[in-house]
Amino acid sequence: MSETDVRSYTVRLELVDEPGELLRALEPIANNGGNLLSIFHERGNLTPRGHIPVEVDLEATETQFETIVGALREAGVNVIQAGAERYSEELTVVLVGHLVATDLSDTLRQFTECGGVSVGDVSLSAPQGTEGESSARLRLEAIEGQTGDALETARTVADEKGLRLIEPLTEEGP
């Protein structure tokens, strides 16, 4: 990516419930060349520290974005997460085996119960009907930095159910 490429970012801020706070948080974005796309102000929903979470979508170049995050922090605005796709990391896996006979919905529930993982969408292909072997593609969403744990969970669940798990090869690896 070149330095002048504009991309979209999501910033999650924590604001104190006082008048003018939101404006104070948005100024560093506009002042540093960021283009505001949307603001989601979750009034009534408090963070564990008793602050109001605000989600801001904006467009900027990578350099501008770094300046914006710096300026927000300098202005005393608490930036919880900043970046593109930092909310969650996605990984796609394919499960193969007697998915229906081994209760696919239970399999999916086990994935999510282990924590840190949610199942995005599921595509099932069962060309031999529900009796034969089938395949399912699962999009898993994991908290940033926890894709390793998510995969470990998927491996354990697949192993217990006698299913084959086809893992993604991470681009960053080996």
Binding site: T92, V93, V96, A126, P127, S135, R164, I166, L169
Partner: protein
């Protein structure tokens, strides 16, 4: 150099036929039951024709070839697991006589690496085995050139499995049908287990781990899953998402894993047909990709002969 070639399969006979082009003389050739020794150099055509017509390479014994006056023993007998015999003993004999050993056979360096290295340490000879990993692709010599700066490696190291997966994805044909097609084409063996169960790829990864981590890995240390009986639906679902499935071997953080993995459909690792590819992760220079033919007689023989060119003069 004067070569003794143990093994008269596709690789052994290709070494015999190509050695002259590289300036070497083959003074002995053996298969599992027969041998021929000619101090002035054996006649490649005679050996090949005897092997084809009578199933022997000559009227001598393999033992006579092991005792011949050679500089380099080329170990090209079939890969065996566990004790890696008879390949291991052949290498042991050569090193015991202070001669070099060049292997195309994976067994000794995958299953008894530390023993091979110990024998080499006590010998005037050197052991090289480029041909054992990735056929014609210069993987081990590249790692050697990089002076310990390769942190990890991964890749597609079995052409048979890759052929099956790429055909299944391209044509939407079942595993059984593609396997039968591969067997007709000579891409898969009559007993394809070694390739489709991931054993062959795992042995190559074990050798890579031994080289990268100066370890004593064996097949038992590898986590191995094959591609046998993979349903076409798995490849279809992957394709809908812009991905495909490849049998990928990974050597990183001291671990060896081989299994089917989802990779981007047009990504670097998604080589098609019988091609192999290896990616080396270097400490200071990012990733290196090297791809090429991972099997075949002349291809593998070219790696054997390249190794012979790297050997030091025997004192």
């Amino acid at each position: 150099m004067r070569l003794a070639v143990m093994g008269a399969g596709a690789v052994g006979t290709a070494v015999l036929e190509l050695a002259g082009e590289y300036g070497h003389d083959v003074v002995g050739v053996a298969d599992s039951s027969s041998g021929v020794v000619e101090d002035g150099g054996v006649d490649p055509d005679g050996v090949v024709s005897r092997k084809r017509k009578r199933g022997i390479v000559g009227d001598g014994t393999p033992e006579a070839v092991l005792g011949a006056d050679y500089d380099v023993l080329v170990e090209a007998t079939p890969t065996t697991l566990g004790d890696a015999e008879p390949g291991f003993s052949h290498v042991e004999r050569a090193l015991g006589r202070d001669r070099h050993a060049v292997l195309a056979n994976k067994g000794p360096v995958a299953e008894r690496y530390d023993e091979v290295r110990a024998l080499e340490a006590d010998s005037g000879g050197t052991v090289l085995f480029e041909a054992a990993v990735g056929g014609a692709i210069p993987i081990l010599s590249t790692i050697d050139d990089l002076n310990g700066q390769v942190a990890a490696a991964r890749g597609v190291l079995n052409g048979t499995a890759n052929f099956i997966l790429s055909r299944m994805a391209a044509e939407g044909i079942d595993y059984e049908h593609v396997l039968a097609e591969a067997q007709d084409l000579g891409v898969a063996e009559a007993d394809p287990a070694f390739d489709v169960e991931g054993t062959d790829a795992a042995l190559k990864c074990v050798i890579l781990a031994n080289v990268l981590y100066e370890g004593t890995y064996t097949l038992a240390d590898a986590e191995v899953e094959g591609i046998a009986d993979l349903p076409g639906s798995a490849l279809e679902l992957a394709a809908e998402d812009g991905r495909t499935i490849r049998l990928v071997g990974e050597v990183s953080d001291g671990n060896v894993r081989v299994g089917p993995r989802l990779v981007p459909e047009n990504g670097t690792l998604a080589v098609s047909g019988t091609l192999n590819i290896v990616q080396l992760e270097t400490n200071h220079a990012g990733r290196l990709n090297i791809s090429g033919r991972g099997a075949g007689g002349p291809e593998t023989a070219s790696a054997v002969l390249a190794d012979i060119g790297r050997l030091p003069e025997l004192s």
